[in-house]
Symmetry: C2
Subunit: 76 residues, 2 copies
């Protein structure tokens, strides 16, 4: 629970590497559901998991987890 905002940056970085949620989850050693929940913003990973995700996706903490979400499309 506790909505955090969907993390589209992870999704995008995954796309860059053509990785599936499952593949990323395995690469960082968590369940697929956990990866999905993080992308959905359903919770709040530990810094350790964040670091692992960054490492696999070749991004920095600031790039993937910095600040709060950038706002979505400005609806028309």
């Amino acid at each position: 629970m506790i909505p955090i905002g969907r993390n589209l940056r992870i999704k995008a970085a995954r796309a860059e590497r053509d990785m599936t949620q499952k593949a990323l989850a395995e690469a960082v050693g968590v369940s697929r559901q956990t990866m999905n929940a993080i992308e959905q913003g359903d919770y709040n990973p530990t810094i350790r998991l964040c670091r692992a995700i960054c490492k696999v996706l070749g991004k920095s903490l600031d790039e993937l987890f910095g600040e709060e979400e950038e706002h979505e499309g400005s609806k028309v």
Copy 2:
């Protein structure tokens, strides 16, 4: 448990702002023991708490929590 390495960067950033562990803990809304444990590397905060710490200390995630610890003094 699970040693992560002491986070001297937080300690240093705190010193820059002349903040005590207690003050920082209150500013980010956790207990003093939690802040202490994080600095001691005794565990593994959530990204949310990390963000809060960064905000209060005026540092980025990469600055305070990026990569693993830089090695200490190169022993002589």
